[in-house]
């Protein structure tokens, strides 16, 4: 702490806290970008049986702004959750372990996988199954009312935004770029996926927030 000597410790601490916030945000952002890329690939695979070598590059070149958007959103959500927890004064105590978080992420990817790979009879069935899975995800890993509320509201908002974008022609669903547009199909899985994603990101964010103090200490070591 010797470098702190000239300035007051409170200043020092604020600096630490913001950097820590930055680190957390960056981690969440990268997780979001990564998941967005991977899940996008999964969705594309639904319609593409085998990838000719040129397809992948075309996927990544078009709509390049989608993964960063997802990353930003996940960073915001991941920071929002612990913040809301502390605001509400009800710290999230349920299953706060990395193993549980990993399980949550795995289930989230699994839901995506199911929505992409499994053939459902109709869209209602798809919606119902995915909704049940998402609620199950929330019940298994979160169980907080704030988490549910935030999840539902963000999912609705995000779905709305996506639909607006699509109807205005700004953005085409990656998976549908190659087949005829099937908005009904999209609409049936999008909210559930968003909800599950919000829950997952919130889980990660809460777990990372536990490390707040640790990062301060690590920073002290490095200095």
């Amino acid at each position: 702490m010797s470098h702190c000597a000239p300035v007051s410790l409170r200043t020092c601490l604020t600096v630490y806290l913001t950097t820590n916030l930055g680190i957390r945000g960056a981690m969440l952002f990268s997780v979001g970008v990564f998941l967005a890329l991977v899940l996008n690939l999964l969705q594309v695979q639904r319609n593409v049986t085998l990838f000719p070598p040129d397809v992948i590059s075309s996927i990544f070149s078009s709509a390049w702004w989608v993964p960063p958007c997802c990353g930003t959103a996940s960073a915001i959500i991941g920071l929002l959750y612990p913040c809301i927890d502390s605001r509400l004064g009800e710290p999230h105590k349920f299953k706060r372990e990395w193993s549980s978080v990993m399980r949550c992420v795995a289930v989230f990817v699994g839901i995506n996988h199911a929505s992409a790979k499994v053939d459902f009879a109709n869209n209602v069935q798809l919606s119902l199954t995915l909704a049940a899975l998402s609620i199950g995800l929330w019940w298994t890993f979160d169980r907080s009312r704030s988490g549910f509320g935030l999840g539902v509201s963000i999912a609705l908002l995000a779905t709305l935004a996506t639909q607006l974008l699509v109807y205005n022609g700004v953005f085409h669903y990656q998976g549908l770029q190659y087949t005829s547009p099937d908005f009904l199909y999209i609409r049936s899985w999008l909210p559930c996926i968003f909800f599950a994603g919000v829950i997952t990101m919130g889980n990660i964010g809460r777990q990372l927030a536990l490390y707040e103090y640790k990062f301060i200490q690590e920073k002290t070591h490095q200095d």
Binding site: M1, R10, L41, P52, D54, V55, S99, K214, E218
Partner: protein, 1224 residues
């Protein structure tokens, strides 16, 4: 209803108990039985095809061919499973070999392929227009649009209509475009991908033969052009194909062609995993491994963590295998991609039960037999395990009713997996756990025996010495003896450095191996890529372009299916063993002269077109990705399907030189033939080879570097600190050893407060003042006035009960430290100045009792060097900024205080006894002596205010609350004293920094007051045995004794409220705070939580093997440390152990809580700070340079987040500013 549930619960519990007994009793047979059943269940898996990406093939005759039926037919033994139903497509290739013959010297290189290629258009026309009961349009595979992303291919591949591919596609099948194309090669090259191509290129697709066999280049010395016209047919019509074959043969006869045309080959393609499919798969596996890692990291308090983690993983994996095996056995063939759903199955089944079992078993009382522990642990968790399992089964059942086939299948696997997982948990894992626990007990026994023999009694904890009757005189022997014991303990640590390094390297190696495997997988999944390319390069380099003749197998790296292919060049070394087909318009003589000189360097004048066996199945020379990629352009997958390749139709075309010249493009002649045909080509291929090698190497190095960086990022520099990859090291990392790796640089510099001559026995503080007492009976009072980084310490005064050493000369170091007296500063100057007390002490003539050992007889030579308040109130700037200059400060500070204020001894105290207990409230120090005398000292002036000698038994513990003092004695009696002051309370001005509200509400006494100490009540038989612990808070006094009981007294009337029984050993630690929460720990390793108001036991847990040495509570958890060097953190409300931290052997047992989330423990010459939320070591502060075995036994957390601990004869003050900030 309730009773039914209870009954069920009891039954389950009893069943589990019996089962646990069984498992622990017969571990070996049960493990054998389980292994046998696993193997049995996995046996059906042998019949499943091994994963692989290479295609397999099956050959049938053409004549009796009929489309195979969908139903499997039993009799056809050699017919493979996949050969059912119609193929995706029939492939009919028309293999064209064309040459300009005879070769004319006036022809240019472009003529080699221009006119032969132009023949493709007429052939195409012929094929398209061929009609025989059906036209091609009805038979061929109709495609409906290219893959949308392939803009580049749009102009080349047919977008609709028949899938008919030929080199003509480069020019949209229009002869005019071809004729007007000035540079054919450029057009062909234009579509080639840049860089390394790993799968079939467009050129391969259109030409139908590998690029280097086409002969379309400037360096074609054989002057034969080969290409195919590929027809993709959706249905098979033997008559149409037969007539087409006949027609083409009739038009372009191939004289010496003896290709067999009676076999068709069916090629079945396996599931193909490309990069795009691999990424999500790899992601799920990474998540899976993270999950397994984080789960198994929680396994704790067992002999072999790795072993148990492995057992847990084995349990889950084999349960999955069993599930698949069982499903296969009962006729359910898995249609899902096993590799894809596998991670999800693992996650669904989970490792939680296994962990719960482990936790439950290890938290059973350690003194039980292993069998009983297992049984008890099992039965404790039986209800929750059954409940979880029922819930999971229900959820899966719900999933089964979604009626989606894929989900149903998944659920089926999951159900069977869950059941088999339960079976394995019960039999396999429980047994492994019992073996582990047994091993641990054995190891524990071995460890404890020498440890107990080697360690002197004072070591275990601060309270232990008081349990044994004290020696008449605490001799320094006990202290000096400790050192060798500690040194012995240090030895294995050196050994651990090796283990440590070995372990880290192991981790790195694992990563390396993983990388290599990964690269291997990449190469394996793309065998048509680099390896074939390299093989092709190598074969091309062989001399004379003759790869077939040499020993080089050209199909070096091609998948096994291509073994039969013999990709020799069209013109082999046999210089036309058979008669060359001659067109009518060619003179024999010309031909003969050409044959006369078949020089290697001079190409033959008449290009010879031969048909060999290798042309029969020319498609074998293509990449096995050829067909899948062709179909994938139309979004048709060949995975798990097959195509039928019909026998090739040979077509030989001879173009006359005149025709070649006629078809010439005007620009063709402007291109002079490149002057260096061979060498540069060789050089080029050489360079390509090296480029490939270099690129591969660079990529490998880059990958390794990347992974290394990743590894470094994930595992910070010091593994002991925050290593992620070493869960085991991290928890158990020793705060108190100096390993080979550098200890963390602590910026928190401890302040050493020197002055005591012997080891510090008692520490007491009330927030402002700090009193310490050493074995020599010397009490020193320090004023800890701290302000951020500037810490000012004023040694206010000292009360010294001098010990003199008469025979001490035999042990110089002892004498030296003794002689230096109060100003032990390590500086010769101060020693000189400090001659006064030294001289004084040497004067009296004590009889020399022992000459061979230090006899430190007490001497009535109390040297009070008191300091007036004026000195104390010196401004801080003149005081001592201890930012690292403690020693100098003492040089300045101590000598004047000693020399200026020497005061004569007041010989009222009983110097024969040592101080065993000390408390500090206000400015009064209460000291309990081994003689049973209670003394009250003025902490400011250093004068004895009063003393009480009512008791005779030594005071083992003191509590000072308000104006009452409670003294616990060795004989088990408890004395209540009241301190009476004649004058009303007043606050002393010089004490207490303004603005600090944390001053305890303790009375202050002015020096004028007359203080008396009255024994109000004495409870004679409070306990049967010596009282070991005494704590007072919230108007209650709690005593713990060696008679296994805890008693609660009310402070006001000294009335015994409760006697708490529940420990099976002496009480060693008690914690009580204002919230009336009482925790007690005993020698049995148990921790009990009590409700002070009702006297009932809230929870009772076993956490330690051996004594509980220290107990601290925060608002949410209870922290205990034990003789087993374990720190356990328990949830305060539920009594569930959250986690434990394994410390190194011999670490101190002292604990302190700085804030809700910050724990401090004393170690060997260091104090460590832990994050309570995670159990992570935050920082270790080394108190001294050497850290040679001085254990921190007492640790006091001051209000300002400073920590005071004893460090041998010194006090150490560690001030953690960041901690303070956290508190704010």
């Amino acid at each position: 209803m309730m009773t039914l549930r209870e009954q069920l619960r009891e039954k389950i519990s009893a069943a589990f108990y019996r089962h646990g007994l069984l498992c622990a009793s017969y571990p070996v047979p049960i493990i054998l039985f389980t292994s046998a059943s696993i193997l049995t269940c996995c046996y059906p898996l042998l019949r499943l095809p091994l994963p692989g990406t290479g295609p397999v093939e099956f050959t049938t005759g053409v004549r009796d061919y009929s489309v195979p039926s969908h139903e499997p037919q039993g009799d056809l033994g050699e017919r493979p499973d996949w050969y059912r139903g119609p193929p995706v497509a029939y492939i009919q290739q028309v293999l064209v070999k064309a040459a300009v013959s005879p070769w004319d010297s006036s022809l240019v290189t472009v003529d080699v392929f221009r006119s032969p290629l132009s023949r493709a258009f007429s052939l195409l026309e012929e094929i398209r227009n061929h009609v025989h009961s059906d036209s091609l349009e009805t038979l061929c595979l109709q495609v409906t649009g290219l893959f949308p992303g392939l803009r580049r291919m749009q102009s080349v591949l047919p977008e609709h209509g028949c899938l008919l591919v030929s080199p003509g596609n480069y020019w949209q099948n229009q002869r005019e475009l071809f004729d007007s194309d000035p540079d054919l090669l450029k057009t062909i090259q234009k579509h080639e991908p840049k860089g390394l191509h790993t799968s079939a290129t467009l050129r391969d697709l259109l030409f139908g033969v590998p690029g280097k066999y086409t002969g379309v280049s400037h360096y074609n010395r054989k002057r034969v052009v080969t290409y195919t016209i590929t027809l993709v047919l959706s249905s098979y019509d033997a008559r149409f194909l037969g007539s087409l074959r006949a027609r083409l043969k009739q038009l372009h006869p191939s004289a010496n062609c003896s290709l067999r045309d009676d076999h068709m080959v069916h090629v079945h393609f396996k599931e193909e995993i490309g990069i795009a499919e691999l990424i999500p798969l790899v992601t799920t596996y990474i998540i899976l491994f993270a999950y397994i890692y984080f789960s198994t990291r929680k396994i704790d308090m067992v002999k072999s963590k790795w072993g148990l983690a492995l057992a847990a993983v084995v349990t889950v994996l084999s349960s999955l295998l069993m599930s698949v095996g069982l499903c296969t056995l009962f006729g359910l063939t898995p249609t899902l991609n096993g590799g894809e759903i596998f991670p999800y199955l693992v996650v669904v089944i989970g490792l939680e039960n296994v962990l719960v079992l482990t936790k439950s078993v290890v938290s059973t009382p350690v003194d039980l037999e292993v069998k009983l522990r297992i049984a008890q642990g099992l039965s404790n968790e039986s209800w929750s395990i059954m409940k979880n399992m029922a819930t999971e089964l229900c959820i899966i059942l719900i999933g089964y009713f979604t009626l989606v086939p894929a989900i149903q299948e998944f659920c089926l696997f999951a159900v069977v997996g869950l059941v088999s997982d339960f079976f394995l948990q019960m039999f396999f894992f429980t047994t492994v756990l019992s073996i582990d626990i047994r091993r641990m007990e054995l190891a524990d026994l071995n460890r404890r025996l020498p440890a107990e023999a080697g360690l002197p009694p004072p070591k275990p904890g601060p309270l232990r010495p008081r349990e044994v009757p004290p020696p008449p005189r605490p001799s320094p022997h006990t202290i000096t003896l400790q050192t060798p014991a500690f040194r012995n303990l240090r030895l294995p640590k050196r050994l651990r450095v090796v283990y440590f390094l070995a372990r880290t390297r192991l981790a790195q190696r694992i990563i390396m191996v993983g990388t290599v495997i990964w690269i291997g997988i990449l190469v394996y999944t793309d065998p048509a890529g680099i390896r074939t390319y390299l093989a092709a390069q190598v074969s091309e380099q062989s001399p004379l372009g003759d790869p077939g003749g040499g020993g080089l197998p050209p199909h070096l790296g091609v998948a096994p299916v291509f073994r039969g292919g013999d990709p020799t060049s069209t013109l082999s070394i046999h210089p036309a063993p058979d008669p060359t087909p001659l067109p009518e318009n060619q003179s024999q003589g010309h031909h003969g002269s050409a044959r006369a000189g078949p020089l290697p360097q001079a190409p033959p004048a008449v290009p010879q077109i031969t048909w060999g066996a290798e042309d029969e199945e020319g498609w074998r020379r293509l990449s096995f990705r050829h067909w899948p990629s062709l179909f994938s352009y139309y979004n048709i997958t060949l995975a798990k399907r097959y195509i039928s390749i019909l026998p090739v139709i040979p077509v030989t075309v001879h173009v006359s030189p005149q025709e070649a010249i006629e078809t010439r493009h005007p620009q063709d002649t402007r291109h002079p033939p490149p002057p260096i045909p061979k060498v540069s080509a060789d050089l080029q291929t050489d360079l390509t080879l090296y480029k490939v090698a270099a690129l591969g190497l660079a990529a490998g190095v880059l990958l390794v570097l990347l992974l290394f960086c990743l590894y470094r990022v994930l595992c910070p520099r010091n593994y002991g600190q925050n290593g992620v990859a070493h869960g085991r090291r991290r928890r158990g990392d020793l705060p108190c050893d100096d390993y080979g790796y550098s200890p963390p640089v602590s910026e928190i510099s401890p302040l050493l407060l020197r002055g005591h001559s012997m080891d510090i026995e008692c520490l007491a503080s009330d927030g402002m003042l700090l009193a310490s007492c050493c074995l020599a009976g010397q009490i020193r009072v320090w004023d800890a006035q701290t302000e951020r980084h500037n810490i000012d310490f004023n040694g206010c005064w000292e009360q010294r009960d001098g010990w003199d050493s008469v025979g001490g000369a035999t042990e110089p170091e002892c004498l030296g430290s003794e002689a230096r007296g109060p100003s032990v500063s390590g500086d010769g100057l101060s020693e000189e100045e400090d001659s006064y007390p030294l001289r004084h002490r040497t004067a009296p003539a004590r009889p020399t009792l022992f000459t061979d050992q230090p006899d430190l007889t007490p001497l009535i030579d109390t040297n009070f060097t008191s300091q007036p308040p004026s000195h104390l109130s010196t401004p801080p700037r003149e005081g001592f900024d201890f930012g690292g200059l403690v020693e100098r400060a003492y040089i300045e500070h101590e000598p004047p205080s000693n020399s200026t204020y020497p005061s004569p001894s007041s010989a009222t105290a009983d110097w024969e006894s040592s101080v065993w207990a000390m408390e500090l409230r206000g400015n009064l120090i209460a000291a309990g002596r081994s003689s049973g005398k209670l003394e009250l000292w003025d902490a400011v002036e250093g004068s004895l205010r009063c003393s009480n000698e009512d008791g005779v038994s030594g005071i083992t513990a003191l509590a000072f609350l308000n104006n009452r003092i409670v003294a616990a004695r060795l004989n088990g009696s408890l004395d209540f004293f009241t301190v009476e002051i004649n004058k009303p309370l007043c606050l002393l001005q010089y004490r207490g920094a303004p603005g600090r509200g944390s001053m305890p509400p303790s009375p202050c006494y002015s020096s004028e007051d007359v203080i008396s100490c009255q024994l109000t009540r004495s409870v004679q038989c409070a306990h049967q045995k010596p009282i070991t612990v005494l704590r007072a808070a919230a108007g209650r006094v709690v005593t713990g004794s060696q008679d296994h009981t805890v008693r609660i007294y009310r402070l006001e009337d000294s009335c015994c409220l409760f006697t708490l029984q529940g420990h099976s050993g002496g009480i060693t630690a008690i914690y009580i705070d204002q919230t009336m929460v009482l925790a007690s720990g005993g020698q049995d390793g148990a921790i009990c939580l009590w409700d002070v108001l009702t006297g009932s036991r809230v929870s009772h847990v076993y956490g330690h093997r051996g004594d509980v040495t220290s107990l601290v509570c925060t608002t949410s958890c209870v922290i205990s440390s034990g003789l087993d060097d374990l720190i356990c953190i328990w949830d305060r409300s539920t009594g569930i152990k959250l986690y434990s931290i394994q410390q190194e052997v011999g670490c101190g047992a002292s604990l302190g809580v700085i804030s809700e989330s910050l724990l401090v423990t004393g170690g060997q010459g260091c104090v460590s700070f832990w994050d309570l939320n995670f159990g992570d070591l935050l920082q270790t502060v080394y108190l001294g340079q050497s850290s040679d075995g001085q254990g921190v036994r007492q640790l006091l957390v001051l209000d300002n987040a400073a920590i005071v601990c004893d460090f041998g004869s010194e006090l150490s003050l560690v001030y953690v500013p960041s901690v303070l900030e956290k508190l704010d």
